[in-house]
Amino acid sequence: MSSVRLQSVAKYYGSVLGVEDLSFECANSEFLAILGPSGCGKSTTMRSIAGLETISSGDIFFGARRVNDESPANRNVAMAFEHFGLYPHMTVSENIGYPLKLRGTSTADVAREVVSIAGVLRIHDVLDRYPSELSGGFRQRVSLARAMVRKPDVFLLDEPISHLDAGLRSEMRIELKRLQRETGATMIYVTHDQREALTMADRVIVMNGGRLQQIDTPERVYTHPRNEFVATFVGDPPMNLLNARATSDCPDSVQVGEHPIQLSASRYRGLLDCLTANDGVVQLGVRAEDLAISDRGGLPGRVRVREAIGDSVLLTVDTEGGRLRMRAPQGVHVREGAVLSISPDINQIHFFDRSTGDRIES
């Protein structure tokens, strides 16, 4: 296994931008997720690493080796796709051994490798079956085994579990993570599902519009999003963004509708530049779990939708600052149409510059 480093990589399709200004490093044995909506450039990035796309500029390194001009076969990457790509006319063990056979490995060695990999992936019981006889979960593991048997330098996975049903997806998430840890594989995992990315990855790259938005641990991407896009893309439900303005009524505070939000002096000072540049308006971001129903004096809102799902209640509330979603505590029964008073957890609110979308550091 080796590390993967991209330096100022750009890829254009004619005049259409694929990715631009892309620089990051995936350390040896790291699980890196590339997260973003469809069309953000994540697949382009992965295909560039694999060598299926030629990049327009920049460099790609595997360890110390510059691989720009190497063909996919020579780069020694393994890829796992959404639809497995198993050979239907071969048994599981033949499928897994095929890449080695192509390389000219001796039959004895092939058999040894296949058995060893099958053990790691717990598919030794089905080695003599055909793919059509197996369930989705097993097929996925066979596909992974075939990719792993070549002992690649890098593993590239492009949304490999998105089409499986919920139960199986859950299982596979645990499976893939376990696999990565046990084998120490360098894994780059592309997905549009933020839950998948945040659960499995050591670090997450968030992409949008062909550009890297943020690269950080899952925890930090959630708690310290770099801009509005990351803030609303990561987390379910997405972070609420409310319109807030500077107010002359109270010092060191901003106003959402008529409701003032008191900030510390230093925090307010940090906002000043942005406020002056944007006609005194700023975006306030707060997550659903950081809003609470207060007795009085909070931001007034009317409940539009109440969703009671299992043991959690999610409310959609219309306020003067915009529409938001918040979690209601158990036991408190709020009706649709009711008027509430809402207060945010001051320590968990973020501010974003309305024109650039960037988060304002405090």
Partner: protein, 361 residues
């Protein structure tokens, strides 16, 4: 708008039952979610009401009339197809208006425009109205297909996983908005989905369908609180309920670890414990597990643990000292909230006195 009734409806595909004696009633204006894993027969159920599939036995009633023998175009049913089935030769706005121009529908142009605007606004497709289907992305096409089903007055509105291919943010937003719309319009709706959050969020009542058989019908709260059998229990909750087999000697089977049951439940073969009823404690507890995956959901943490080869999920408030992968922790179960199921998967109730003794172990 009218009621729907299924009476012992069965449908076979080459000898394999797709629907087995399915019976239920849906009141006028009610939203009933057909909830079940892939292959359960949800699509077949919807299609048989629409007339796209013939049933082999039983009766279907729609708005008081028997539906058998009634040709599709006379059933007054609206449907959002899984394959979208948009008219490729028509623009989006004409696709949406198509049902409103059908023979027998008398509607003024102004009313049509009003409905078109309303649906377009709900589904955020206003900017796409003059495009053709081939110019749209998959998610956009799905919304147009849904819009076409919502725009008309129908005795039954059939939605087959109508938001499955939209991105997560849009889905999250649309769930609540859809329910408001359907309630506002008073549409009697059957909504098929395998997604727990989606289904239980939008339903007035839930019908749990597994392999063509109805396992439970009730309000989302009822089904969640008291799942009728272990199959239903395995599907409910996010994450789903943990199901642990009980060994014949009355202990919980965790491979090498065994935990005696603190309650006496004769005839039970499995116990179900919600992730929220599994607590993590110090590693010197009788049952230990290794952390294999940590997931943050809002302010809670979902921790997947390997307990003697079996994976359990625990949902806890974010701990003060962070958990690490591979760490070994102890588990405690809240037995007062446990659900018991027999060998036949049906619910079994514990003996009353033993519960009060149980508490926590």
């Amino acid at each position: 708008m009218a009621e729907i009734a299924f009476e012992k409806v069965s449908k076979y595909f080459q000898g394999v039952p797709a629907l087995s004696e399915v019976s239920f009633r849906c009141e006028s204006g009610e939203i009933v979610v057909i909830f079940g894993p892939p292959g359960a027969g949800k699509s077949t159920l919807l299609r048989s009401l629409a007339g796209l599939e013939d049933i082999d036995s039983g009766e279907i009633h729609l708005a008081g009339r028997a539906a058998t023998g009634l040709p599709i175009h006379r059933r007054k049913v609206a449907m959002a197809f899984e394959s979208y089935a948009l008219y490729p030769h028509l623009k989006v706005r004409n696709n949406l208006e198509f049902p409103l121009k059908a023979p027998g529908v008398r509607m003024a142009s102004a009313e049509r425009q009003m409905r078109l605007g309303r649906v377009a606004e709900l589904l955020k497709i206003d900017s796409l109205l003059d495009r053709y289907p081939h110019q749209l992305s998959g998610g956009q096409r799905q919304r147009v297909s849904l819009g076409r089903a919502l725009i008309r007055d129908a005795d039954a509105t059939l939605l087959d996983e109508p938001i499955a291919h939209l991105d997560a943010r849009l889905r999250s937003m649309l769930r609540g908005e859809l329910r408001l719309y359907l309630q506002d319009v008073g549409a009697t709706t059957l909504y098929a989905t395998p997604d727990f959050q989606e289904g239980f969020g939008i339903a007035n009542r839930v019908l749990v369908l597994i392999k063509g058989v109805v396992h439970q019908i009730g309000t989302p709260e009822e089904v969640f609180a008291v799942p009728a059998d272990s199959h239903v229990a395995a599907l409910i909750g996010d994450p789903a309920m943990n199901l642990i087999p009980i060994a014949p000697d009355g202990t919980l089977d965790f491979g090498e670890q065994r935990l005696p049951l603190p309650v006496s439940v004769p005839g039970s073969a499995q116990v179900g414990l919600r992730p929220g009823d599994v607590a993590l404690v110090s590693p010197d507890a009788p049952v230990k597990g290794r952390v294999v995956l940590i997931e943050r959901i809002g302010s809670s943490l979902v921790v997947n643990l390997d307990v003697g080869g079996r994976v359990l999920a625990a949902k806890i408030a974010a701990p003060t000292s962070p958990l690490t992968m591979g760490e070994v922790v102890g588990l405690e179960f809240r037995w007062s909230e446990a659900h018991f199921f027999g060998k036949d998967a049906a619910r079994v109730e514990p003996e009353a006195e033993s519960l009060t003794m149980g508490g926590r172990t």
